[in-house]
Amino acid sequence: MKSLLIRIFLSFWLIIGLTIGTAAIGGYWYAEKVSNAYDNFELGDSILDASAALQSAGREGLRSWLNEFPGADGLQVLVLDARGQDLLGRPVPVTMRRMLDRRQRFMRPPDRLRRDPENLMRARPLSQLIGPDGQRYVIVVVPARNPLLARYGLSPRTLLLILALLVSAAVSILLARAMSRPVRELREATRSLAAGNFEKRVSSSVGRRRDELGSLARDFDTMADNLQRSAAQQLELSRNVSHELRSPLARLRVALELARREAGNLAEFDRIDVETERLDTLIAQILDYTRLDSIADQDKRPLSLNDVIADVIADVNYECNSVGIDNVSITSEFSSSINVLAHESSIKSAIENILRNAVKFTKPNSRVVVSLRREYPDKALVTVDDSGPGVPESDLDRVFEPFFRSADAANSRSGTGLGLAIAARAISLHGGTIAASNRADGGLRISMQLPC
């Protein structure tokens, strides 16, 4: 089916048709069956036996006659007393009882009732017997009740209704599923694309369809291809630019030293030196950021998160000491030992960047606390707490954007603005999540959740 329109149209048509068809055919079949049974049934001389039994032994005689009466295919012979009860205590169809109530006499029922299967027996003459005590008995022939239906108290009409409902429900479910599954798949793909995962494609699943959803899926793939390509080009560009900047930077640094030698130590030279250093760090960070893209699954190996964190803490402590920050202490709280499948250097650089950021912003003479625990059986939670000024609530989500600077964070101690972005990217490439929150007792908490 090529078009979704035709598909929906035909499906609805089919559902309605099937429902009506089931009811009509079922009803017709049942009526036909009952009517055939009546046609083939003849009470005949048995009525004389019944009368004889009644005359000789009264009600009990009629009862035993009825007990021995062989019955007929698809029909049931009832003998009702004056109160309308069957002698053998079998249920009397409601319609039959009503009719008997309404009319004291046995009449030919009006034609319009003929086709109602339960009224069919009225088309046949009913026999009336009068006992020796003047008691009146009526012999009626009704369609036999299906024992299964009888047990649940269902009439054939209710059964037909249920059947029609079931058939239409089944077809409707098939239709609903056929329409919602591809839509759901597309939605998931769109979401994952929005979350920055450019790998997801739907050609092989939804794209196989030949309807509008199929072409939508193929369009989605084209869009994802283009997005992926342009994202890759953008990364490639920043990578190339950064690489190309390095050669002149390297020459600049040597030229600076040569100048220093020629002209002696000028304060301006130191300034140039510092700025070159900054430029160099920035370029290195951009390259770190772009390089994260090329992490392949085969580069990942099992690592002890405890060891990784301990290493990073040692490194950052060492760095602090060497640049003269000696009033901040970094402590770790490990409540379990956890292994993760990870790319070592990128996971290290994630934690390192977060830790450096914490050290940079925490108050003098305070602690930065790194904790590691198992949050769920398959999730490791690493948190880094500082005692700094925190971040305005509205900016919490944005701190992981490259070069984001909070407006009112009067941060003179500027970094490159890429540290947290590198961390977030590295964590998300490992299938983890990262979040920033302000701690109740002041300071920022960065939480990383990693699958383990």
Partner: protein, 240 residues
């Protein structure tokens, strides 16, 4: 250290011709004679023709890759090599150290740092006048005059840096030697933050010792502190 260095010759293999010339000028003032080659092939050729004291090798070379040059060079000589790597490119750096480079510097580097590294390594290879020149522990023996090492009397091929690290550990068996000290002695420089070169050299050393059939003495890592050489059981029994 007071013996003023003779003019040492350094081979610089770097495709940035202008940088090469500037470095030539810069290092010349420090009595380092620099010969510049712009490709790996030229560099290897020059190594065959002249005698150099040290090689500065840019890993990011067009054509023959710096790592290939290093591999080729190590088959013939144990000349000290300082490699220039892309900053943050751990893979190149680790492979380079594994292939036998003595030290590395991320490019763009501070030229003063380059001189310091070059000097540190040149100083290390200058014959010293210290008394003890041979060490022995278990199956491992070292001779500093000939800069040779052996395990079970079979020669062990070590780079200068690996030799110095092993010597440090061997001098104090069972004692933890800090990474800081190992870096100062073997590389002639302070340990830097995020510096994994000592760890890489140690892991090379472990592999080489193992391959040479040494199973008694093991180099252990004390996380956050340093490394120590555990004497083999036979050795410990001997002492008791």
């Amino acid at each position: 250290m007071n013996d003023t260095p003779e003019t040492s010759t350094v081979l610089l293999i770097d495709d940035d011709r202008e940088l090469g010339q500037m470095l030539q000028d810069y290092l010349a003032a420090d009595s380092l004679k620099v010969h510049v080659c712009c490709s790996g092939e030229d560099g290897l050729k020059a190594l065959g023709l002249h005698k150099f004291d040290l090689v500065i090798l840019d890993i990011m070379l067009p054509g023959m890759n710096g790592l290939d040059v290093l591999k080729a060079l190590r088959t013939t000589t144990d000349i000290p090599v300082i490699m220039l790597t892309a900053r943050g490119d751990d893979v190149d750096r680790i492979i380079g150290l594994e292939l036998g480079a003595d030290d590395y510097l991320a490019k763009p580097f501070n030229p003063r740092e380059l001189i310091a590294r070059v000097r540190a390594i040149l100083r290390r290879i200058q014959p010293s006048s210290r008394k003890q020149e041979t060490w022995q522990l278990g199956s491992i023996s070292l001779d500093r005059t000939t800069r040779s090492a052996s395990v079970h009397n079979t020669a062990l091929s070590l780079t200068g840096t690996e030799f110095e690290i092993l010597r440090c550990l061997l001098q104090a068996p069972g004692e933890v030697v800090s990474k800081q000290r190992l870096s100062e002695i073997a590389l002639g420089r302070h340990l830097l933050p995020y510096d994994r070169s000592i760890d890489t050299h140690i892991s090379n050393l472990r592999k080489k010792l193992e391959r040479a059939g040494n199973s008694d003495e093991t180099i252990q890592n004390q996380r956050g502190v340093g490394y120590l050489l555990i004497p083999g059981t036979s050795q410990r029994n001997l002492r008791q």
